[in-house]
């Protein structure tokens, strides 16, 4: 039986060659995979230990304390549960401000992104030679974290929603610009050529030829960005840019005694994020044609 099974192997050296080559390839692949795995695990472990040693409180002490603060907040909120709805109403205007910052920056950023993306898409660009310039502009504005611009503008313009709005809009223009120009690249050139043949200028070609094709995808990306920007504007509030983040910082640094306010803001923020998350994913699915 065994002889019979081995038979064709001996008869056909080509088959054996292939099998050996395959086995060797598998071994090298496994070895590389193993090496990558070992390096990765070593990086994670040493990184964790380094981060642990440079942290003010260690990981193992902290993990035991992790429920103390939420516990304090919850117990104080439970003690003053009747006040919570009132507090939520009190902080609602700041919540609106946070949402306004996000909406305004998404709108401004998206409008800038539309212009930048049209100017940096091959085939559509008004000035084809300047495509790399506009691309680098988008790269840079995408790379700047919002907090950098926000902090500098807060120094000049004072605390308030405008620095946050400008900061987020700047970043949004780069992030959306890149996504928009990817969408533009897939647009059909036929309507644009048709418009060109009847003498339409660049603005008309873009407005009537490109935008109707790409608007649904643009909108879908902009909605996703809006969701991200709500989170960003809440965070920027914490460093002094107004909105609900600023109230959270005040209530939080006050400490015990105002944790009912912290709880109210946590709830408001959570509900807002979940609401806009659901809303945007619903409309995104509708726009891109998924069910």
């Amino acid at each position: 039986m065994t002889e019979k099974a081995l038979g064709p192997d001996i008869e056909n050296p080509r088959l054996r060659e292939v099998r050996e080559a395959y086995a060797a390839m598998t071994r090298t692949k496994q070895m590389y995979g193993g090496i990558v795995m070992v390096v990765f695990v070593a990086l994670m472990a040493s990184g964790f230990m380094l981060a642990d040693s440079r942290n003010a409180g260690g990981f193992w002490d902290g993990i035991l304390n992790i429920f103390i603060f939420p516990g304090e907040v919850l117990s104080e909120a439970a003690g003053k549960a009747t006040l919570l709805p009132g507090l939520m109403v009190k902080f609602f205007p700041s919540l609106i401000e946070t949402i306004n910052i996000a909406a305004a920056s998404t709108l401004v950023g998206a409008l800038l992104a539309i212009v930048l993306s049209l100017l940096s898409t091959r085939g559509l660009a008004r000035f084809p030679r300047l495509i790399p310039v506009f691309r680098r502009m988008m790269d840079i504005s995408r790379a700047v974290p919002e907090i950098v611009i926000a902090l500098v503008l807060i120094f000049i313009l004072g605390s308030g929603p405008v620095p946050a709005m400008i900061a987020i809009a700047f970043h949004t223009s780069g992030a959306l610009g890149k996504l928009f120009s990817e969408v533009n690249e897939n647009a059909s050139m036929k309507p644009i050529e048709g418009l060109q043949s009847v003498g339409a200028n660049w603005t008309q070609r873009m407005l009537l030829g490109v935008i109707p094709q790409v608007a649904p995808n643009w909108l879908s990306y902009a909605l996703l960005r809006f969701e991200i920007n709500i989170r960003a504007s809440a965070i920027l509030g914490f460093v002094g840019a107004g909105g609900i983040g600023y109230d959270l910082k005040n209530a939080f640094s006050w400490g015990l005694g105002r944790y009912d306010e912290v709880a109210a803001i946590f709830i408001l923020l959570f509900l807002t994020i979940v609401f806009f998350d659901q809303l945007s994913s619903h409309y995104r699915n509708k726009l891109v044609g998924k069910t």
Binding site: G47, F48, G58, I68, V152, G158, F238, F266, D277
Partner: protein, 445 residues
């Protein structure tokens, strides 16, 4: 017969087409109108008109000027009577005895001549300051006991000099001077980031790149116990003015936060995603539970996680890493489980037919299918989390975000702020480039 049947249908089309065009026209006009109305509302909600009044353009001017220039303070202490020269007036930037910048000439124990730009010059002679402006003359300010006397050539005080009983400030075109009872100070502005490489106490200060290269290659030791090259590296690395060591550590901490957070989240989310995917998790309750868990973790948002965790773990990179980890576990869990629901069953069945156990089925039937999606998401998040880590660092206190907020709060080290901003942008672009390169290599090849 077909023609007759078609006629009402065609008129139907015409109606729908007209209706659609009307609707599109309506949208085309109303959408910009709605946006415009919203901006008008924002104009009042954000109080844009009041903004001009609150804006501190003088702050902006200081910020811009400071980011590309520095000032040297020449100070005479009117009480102790000694003279000192310091860059930005900082202790760390004080010129040691016997060393002066080329625009200052020391003529005695407490007398100095300072050549300013735009033809102006100043002379400190003990408690007397003589500030010469071409075409105007010499302004003399003297501190006598508790009194400060100001003498101008035409006996009137021009608008670029502000004078009170306790302070006289001269703002010339080529420099500034301020005299109080305690000290007489002259400021001279120069371009560049002074002391960026070597501080004044370093033997390599003020040498040109060519000289430095020559020194690095030569065997004559400037510092006794080190080779010249090692001494130079040491001088730059431990620069007290710009703190390159701390800054690079901070950048590294920020990247570490992003790396640990993203990878940790991916490792935790992968097994959980199997439990939340429709085709792998047989129990609806488990599936539902994990989905809601992902939604919850995502909905609570990085800001709240950061606050909760910073209470337990204190400031530092670990707190930031854990905050990123928690938030992204939710996002990854959701995305991975969606990817798992889209896998092709045929490959799994093929592996099953060879008698593979469940774990082997997952390893060889499922993982290879979702790896590209998984990797590209993880790498994309790694880049985006480098930016988040900067912000989280500013809140919890760790990494470059902390240094940036500290430098901005002092409101004077704007050259350091611009240095950090440049480094942050380079860091994010580097991570963007690495993640893009890895994505192309790992997913295509």
């Amino acid at each position: 017969m077909t023609a007759i049947a078609d006629i009402p249908a065609q008129s139907d089309w015409k109606d729908t087409a007209t209706a659609r065009i009307t609707r599109k026209r309506l949208i085309a006009f109303s959408a910009p109108l709605v946006i415009l109305t919203y901006f008008v509302y924002l104009f009042f909600a954000f109080d844009i008109s009041g903004l001009a009044g609150r804006a501190r353009m003088d702050n902006a001017a200081v910020l811009v000027a400071d980011s590309y220039s520095y000032k040297t303070h020449v100070t005479h202490d009117n009480r102790r009577g000694d003279l000192s020269i310091a860059i930005e007036g900082e202790n760390k930037g004080t010129y040691p005895d016997g060393m002066t910048p080329d625009f200052v000439t020391l003529t005695g124990e407490s007398t100095a001549r300072i050549a300013l730009t735009a033809g102006e010059s100043a002379k400190i002679d003990g408690a007397t300051l003589r500030y010469s402006v071409p075409g105007y003359g010499t302004v003399t300010v003297t501190v006598e006991g508790r009194k400060i006397s100001l003498v101008t050539p035409d006996d009137t005080v021009p608008d670029w000099i502000s004078s009170s009983s306790s302070r006289v400030t001269i703002t010339g075109k080529g420099g500034r001077a301020s005299v109080t009872r305690a000290r007489t100070e002259v400021f001279r502005y120069s371009y560049g980031w002074e002391l960026f490489w070597f501080t004044l106490d370093s033997p390599f200060y003020g040498k040109s790149p060519v000289e430095l290269l020559g020194l690095a290659l030569s065997g004559d030791r400037v510092v006794a116990d080190k080779s010249n090259f090692a001494a130079m590296v040491d001088g730059v690395w431990n620069n007290a003015m710009w703190r390159h060591k701390d800054v690079l550590w901070a950048i590294f901490e920020t990247i570490l936060m992003a790396f640990l957070g993203t990878m940790g989240a991916a490792i935790i989310a992968l097994p959980l995603a199997f439990l939340a995917a429709r085709n792998f998790s047989p129990f609806i309750a488990v599936r539902f539970g994990f989905r809601r868990l992902f939604d919850f973790v995502r909905g609570v948002d990085g800001l709240i996680w950061t606050i909760i965790l910073s209470r337990a773990f204190g400031p530092g990179p670990l707190t930031g890493a854990l905050a990123i980890l928690l938030t992204d576990t939710g996002s990854f869990g959701k995305m991975f489980s969606e990817a798992l629901e889209n896998v092709d069953d045929k490959q799994i069945e093929g592996i099953q037919s060879t008698g593979a156990k469940p774990l082997q089925r997952y390893r060889f039937g499922v993982i290879p299918q979702i790896t590209p999606v998984l990797l590209s998401q993880v790498l994309y998040y790694l880049e985006s989390n480098t930016r988040s880590a900067t912000i989280i660092g500013a809140i919890t206190g760790g990494g470059i975000g902390l240094l940036l907020t500290q430098a901005i709060i002092t409101q004077k080290d704007w050259e350091e702020v611009s240095y950090y901003i440049v480094l942050i942008i380079l860091m994010v672009m580097l991570m963007d480039w690495i993640s893009g390169m890895l994505r192309r290599k790992l997913i295509k090849g």
